[in-house]
Symmetry: C2
Subunit: 247 residues, 2 copies
């Protein structure tokens, strides 16, 4: 028995099982992965751009984001993450980090050596397939972000980001379909959507005034999911999240 007593790897197993329909043996194999646990405060860099990494970073609890910074010092967040996400699976084959990985809230993180994951993937092909599928979905999410930032106006962009985060939070088992935390600051929403925090603030107020969302601090309630989806031009298929209530 490893330190898995607190079910550290549970969120990842839940996710991979959804992506790959794993066997009992597959799940046991995952559960016996060796890892190192860490707890980090909010806004802590876990992996820095340029670093050569030899282990993956599994988000056990809390929230995280990946981001790049332009030469002019502008920040762009390229993805948000919920518990169960492996934050940098791509580093197994591309070991030089091309972006930063940072916590958004306090977060519990399990470090897993690349070699261990490779071994697991070879011994358990369905797990390997689920892991690869996960990286491909990551790519699909990036493409959808390109579309949002490139061709949607501020209201649709922010609505889309909220819809995506809501579905992923529900899939990860940390939220209900209409009630969830958006753990990031408005500054971070701005950096994810390519806007300024001032405009994010005004647009969130607009969505509120139009009656599609309600907020209290960083707790969000979606008052009208169908209208929200229409505003966001949100089609959740690309997430492969299996949340029928939100499809």
């Amino acid at each position: 028995m490893t330190t898995d007593s607190l079910n550290v790897l549970g969120p990842m197993i839940r996710k991979l099982d959804r992506l790959g329909d794993l066997s009992e043996q597959d799940c046991l194999a995952i559960r016996s992965l060796p890892f190192t646990l860490g707890v980090f405060p909010a806004n802590r860099v876990l992996v820095r751009e340029g670093q050569y990494v030899t282990r993956c970073c599994l988000l056990v609890s809390g929230y995280a984001a990946r981001q790049k910074v332009t030469k002019e010092g502008k920040r762009q967040i390229v993805s948000f993450h919920v518990p169960g996400d492996i934050l940098d699976l791509q580093h197994i084959l591309l070991p030089r980090a091309d972006h930063n990985v940072e916590t958004i809230t306090q977060a519990k993180v399990a470090w897993i050596a690349h070699d261990e994951i490779r071994r697991l993937a070879e011994a358990h092909p369905r797990v390997g397939e689920a892991l690869w599928r996960d990286t491909l979905i990551d790519g699909a999410v990036s493409r959808e972000w390109v579309v949002s930032v490139g061709r949607r106006d501020a209201r649709a962009r922010i609505a889309h980001m909220i819809c995506e985060f809501a579905v992923r939070s529900v899939a990860a088992g940390v939220a209900l379909p209409t009630n969830f935390e958006l753990p990031m600051s408005q500054d971070q929403i701005a950096d994810a959507t390519g806007l300024t925090s001032v405009h994010v603030n005004r647009t969130l107020q607009l969505l509120e005034k139009q009656g599609v969302i309600a907020r209290d601090r960083r707790s969000y309630h979606i008052a009208d999911w169908d209208r929200m989806r229409a505003i966001a031009d949100f089609e959740p298929d690309y997430l492969h999240a299996a949340v029928p209530a939100m499809a």
Copy 2:
């Protein structure tokens, strides 16, 4: 001997060898892949969003792009492709297309069944690894596009797109570092960068007036690569293209 007499798979082998350092056997195995050849005119849809596909689409010659269309009918190009690129490797594990694949110019395409590629990857792990690495680079490119569209101004965005396309063209062996074709229309550049074609036109003229590029129709010459890179905030590492002259 297959119909490979015209060396149809050559561009892909060149690319995978660069990504995976393949053995003689690996290359031979790729070369014996069965495929179906097709030639398509410019602006032809090869794969349509929503389709369930069972084969991959290898670009042998010519240029292609992948794109999504918003509910409001706005188009966003999410990637451009050069000879040797497999246009939809992700469909092996996510068989429902979440975007369109279209030709930009007349293009020669080899269709390869997913099952054949799976078999190849299992029998030749280094080939499999190179293929996966390719999908991960595709993800890295998407992230870089998010940064461009989200946080760079029109001039940097267009310059970045040109730099990326130049490096990839050189790596594919269809261009020299400072002289290459940009086969897409200004409309398509606009749809890739999240701008309008009017603004793309003005910005290309600006880059010309500033002496960093020269154009004749769709032939481009980069007059000052260092300045171009600086304007674009372009760091080619993420492409893993191994073009030292442009690094």
